[in-house]
């Protein structure tokens, strides 16, 4: 029958989610989707923090997760602001078309 769920299941799940998010950041061209992949990565981190917080019955991990969410909100707001400014100037949302600093 099914094994009982331990903290390891959550750790492996969060590792998988982190890898999927990294893959999105590295391979997608659309900047909006790259920003969403960053949200996936931050959520994977939060799963890890909450899992360890539950495992050791120590609430500090959950407090840290709250701070991670705060930073994620700030990052999303700034990132989308930059995206709007970028679209106004360059008329593109493809990450590899913004290559002004490329050699």
């Amino acid at each position: 029958m099914l094994h009982p769920i331990t903290s390891n299941h959550y750790l492996v799940l969060s590792a998988a989610m982190l890898i999927i998010g990294t893959l999105g950041v590295l391979t997608r061209r659309n900047i909006v989707i790259v920003l969403m992949s960053i949200e996936l990565i931050l959520n994977a981190v939060n799963i890890n923090l909450v899992t360890m917080s539950h495992h050791w019955q120590n609430l500090h991990g959950q407090v840290f997760a709250i701070f991670v969410i705060t930073v994620a909100v700030a990052e999303a707001a700034i990132g989308l602001g930059i995206l709007i400014a970028l679209f106004r100037n360059k008329e593109t949302v493809q990450a590899d078309e913004i290559d002004l600093l490329k050699w």
Binding site: L11, T27, V32, L59, V73, A76, R88, V93
Partner: protein, 169 residues
Amino acid sequence: MLDTIFFYVFALLTIGGAIATITRRSAMHSALSLIVSLLGVAGLYLLQKAEFLFAVQIVLYIGGIMVLFLFVIMLVNLDQAAKERQFNRQWLLGLVASVLVGAQMVWMLNSAGVLSLPAAVPAPAATGPGNIEALADLLFREYLLPFEVASLLLLVAIVGSVMMAKKTS
């Protein structure tokens, strides 16, 4: 038993939503898949008795950040982008690199003994303060200064994003 079933349902929502997020062509579909994924994560928080984070995840992530994303997707014209190539030229390198990092991570977790953690500390009997009360105690006593710094960060983020998105004459 019921916990096991719920874990697999939420894990499926999380991973399936995440995969759909990075593979869909239309940014709108990606955003909706991300909402499904975040709902799965919220369920995982609930399974781990983090009720406050469960509420925060739904109200703040799905209600706040994702609505912001949807607004921007509608504001910025993405029709042209959906017709073009979706992955950049280094996609194969990116795939290999992230699979390698993933394998390395699992190998490290395994060899460092993290995947055979000591038994979990049993939850105390439910007589003490609840999750939200205990969290508030910790946040407003021990973490008061970081809490205030976080509010400053949010203020800076608000001003910064308004500055960024403002039309310059």
